[in-house]
Amino acid sequence: MSDVADRVKKIVVEHLGVEEGKVTENASFIDDLGADSLDTVELVMAFEEEFGIEIPDDAAETIQTFGDAVKFITEAS
C-alpha cells in the first residue's frame, strides 16, 4: 500500500474510531464507516492539513470512499 493510503487510513481510523480492517478501497465513509455529513467535512479538513493541499468544496463532495480520497490526494499532491 502506498504511503498516501497509509496516512489517509490513519486519519480515518483515528477520526471515525473504526477498525483498520474495515477501511477498504470501496468503504464508504457514511454508509460503511459510520460517518455523518459533518464527519466527512472534518475528514477533508484533516486531509488538507496532512497533505498541505486545498480540496475545493465541489471536489470534496466527490470523495465518498477511502479509495476516492487516496486517488484524489495522490493526484493533487
Partner: protein, 245 residues
C-alpha cells in the same frame, strides 16, 4: 464564574456603544479580544483603554473581500478565534413602499451575509478545538417587526434562523450558537431619537427605562462562558419586558 482566561474573542462593531461594552466585558473576564469596526480611532482608543490582550482589526463589512479576510486576521493576531460576536449592524430605514433595492440589499449584506461569512470563517478552528461560542446580536424588531425597518427586521430575524440551523449542525462538536436580542438600548443609534419619540417607546417598556449597553454585554458574557455550554440555538431577549418571547 464566567472565566474566559485563555480564550480569544473577535467582536465586530466594537467601535459602537454595545460592541465596545461587549469587548470590555469579555476582556474583563480574561479573554483576549480582537476589536473590529469601520472607524479606526474609537477602536484604537478602546484598545488603549483595555491595555494588554487587545487587538485592532479594522474591517468594512460591506466589502466582501474584507469580510473573508477578517477571521484569518483575527486568528493570526490572537492564535485562534474561540468566541465570535457578530454585533456590527446598520440601519437604512424607509417605508416599505419607498424602500429601494439598494437600501434593502445593503442592510442584508452587512447584517446577515457578513454574519454568515464570519461564522463560516471561524468554524474550522472551532471544530478542531471541539470548543466554540458564536453569539449573534439580533434585535427585538427581528421578532416583533417595526414600521420603517422591513430590511433591518428581516436581517435580524434571518440571523436567528441562521443561528438555530448552525446550532444544530455543530452542537456535537462543543460549539454553541446563540442570539441576543436587545430592545431599546442607550447608544448613538437611539440618541438620535427625539424626546417625544423616546417617551413613546418607553410607554411600551414595562421596565420604564431604556437598557444600558452593559446589560447586553452581560448576556453575551454568559453565552460566551464555559457555564453556558448546554445553551445553544436560543435567543436571549434583553428588552425590559417590551416583548415577552
Amino acid at each position: 464564574m464566567f472565566d474566559l482566561t485563555g480564550k480569544n474573542a473577535l467582536i465586530t462593531g466594537a467601535s459602537g456603544g454595545i460592541g465596545g461594552e461587549i469587548a470590555r466585558a469579555l476582556h474583563a473576564a480574561g479573554a483576549t479580544v480582537a476589536l473590529s469596526g469601520t472607524r479606526v480611532e474609537p477602536l484604537q482608543a478602546l484598545a488603549d483603554e483595555l491595555g494588554e490582550r487587545a487587538h485592532v482589526l479594522p474591517c468594512n463589512l460591506s466589502d466582501p473581500e474584507a469580510v473573508e479576510a477578517l477571521p484569518k486576521q483575527a486568528a493570526e493576531a490572537m492564535g485562534s478565534v474561540d468566541i465570535l460576536v457578530n454585533n456590527a449592524g446598520i440601519t437604512r430605514d424607509n417605508l416599505f413602499m419607498r424602500m429601494s433595492d439598494e437600501e434593502w440589499q445593503s442592510v442584508i449584506d452587512v447584517n446577515l451575509t457578513s454574519t454568515f461569512k464570519l461564522c463560516k470563517g471561524v468554524l474550522r478552528g472551532m471544530m478542531k478545538a471541539r470548543w466554540g461560542r458564536i453569539i449573534n446580536i439580533s434585535s427585538v424588531v427581528g421578532a416583533t417587526g417595526n414600521p420603517g425597518q422591513g430590511n433591518y427586521a428581516a436581517s435580524k430575524a434571518g440571523m436567528i434562523g441562521m443561528s438555530k440551523s448552525l446550532a444544530y449542525e455543530v452542537a456535537s462538536r462543543g460549539i454553541t450558537v446563540n442570539a441576543v436580542a436587545p430592545g431599546f438600548i442607550t447608544t448613538a443609534m437611539t440618541d438620535k431619537l427625539t424626546e417625544d419619540q423616546k417617551a413613546g417607546i418607553l410607554q411600551q417598556v414595562p421596565a420604564g427605562r431604556m437598557g444600558e449597553p452593559a446589560e447586553i454585554a452581560a448576556a453575551v458574557l454568559y453565552l460566551a462562558s464555559p457555564e453556558a455550554g448546554y445553551v445553544t440555538g436560543t435567543t436571549l431577549h434583553v428588552n425590559g419586558g417590551m416583548a415577552m418571547l
